[in-house]
Symmetry: C2
Amino acid sequence: MELGLLYSGGKDSTLAALLLEEFYDVTLTTAQFGISDDWKHARKTAETAGFEFERLELDPDVADEAVEIIREDGFPRNGIQHVHLHALEELAERGFDAIADGTRRDDRVPTVSRAQAQSLEDRHDVDYIAPLSGFGRTAVDRLVESHLEVTVGPSEAIDRADYEAELRTLIAEEDGPAAVGDLFPDHEQTYVTDVR
Amino acid sequence: MELGLLYSGGKDSTLAALLLEEFYDVTLTTAQFGISDDWKHARKTAETAGFEFERLELDPDVADEAVEIIREDGFPRNGIQHVHLHALEELAERGFDAIADGTRRDDRVPTVSRAQAQSLEDRHDVDYIAPLSGFGRTAVDRLVESHLEVTVGPSEAIDRADYEAELRTLIAEEDGPAAVGDLFPDHEQTYVTDVR
């Protein structure tokens, strides 16, 4: 069975790929608006780990909508969620038997509710799988430590291809770099360099 | 890392074992009150599939409490849930690094909420993992078809070692066989005979 996994090059989506590869023919798909070239980092990790890779082009209007949501809220959570649901809809149109993402049990964003999952499956005749949704933070950290080689650092210094990076770039272009610091809390990100 | 998985011999818990075996040293543990010998069927499947197997003895008082709940409700859901949470508490005391069960995204019972999972982890210093909780019914069915050999039939004809079987036996002994038919809806169960 062919499965497309939304892939950022981060530890969660890489671990999700390892969990699924015994059961599916996994293609790592990195969603992007064409705002930056960060998707190339995800492609590099995908190639190093031996997975098929595809780009998934998103609707630029959705980036503008997400930025507007983030400006109004003053924090990025709902804007990132908006992009994630759009990315799953686009991925569901690609003809895979199943689609997946790297959302964890303890993630605040993005989250896909049971009702949203069922709706996605029914409308697109595809299975939606969140292989890490039954794993808590500690369990994920332990598996990452034993199976992945990662680089950790603050969000702005790490080369990964998540929506946040492109939305940060868009906001910096439109509102200036200071706006990014106001809207996005500092937190550490990880980028996977290899699998063991 | 050592992981103990609550195991019935059914398709969900067997599939959960296959998903986890790449990442953990999995021991299949069948919880039982000592009411019937159905746990031997689970042991047989565990041995056929090449997994370590242990019995997990539950508190007989919990079976009595569950039967009382089922009699009052007129349906088995909350009684089975009561036993499942007790079984997880007992399993968490066994010294595994992680414990797991076969609950699916679409299961109505048993279910373990995010708060219950976190509480279990914090109190017992153990990871709780529900590897199928990100899989819907169709995805599970497809994986079962490609990876397991199963026997399907009505609940009373299938040899598996879930709590329901022992609670049915207890109710039949105390209230007569007709009570079982009144309290437990007819539904088909599967028992795994081998993995592919």
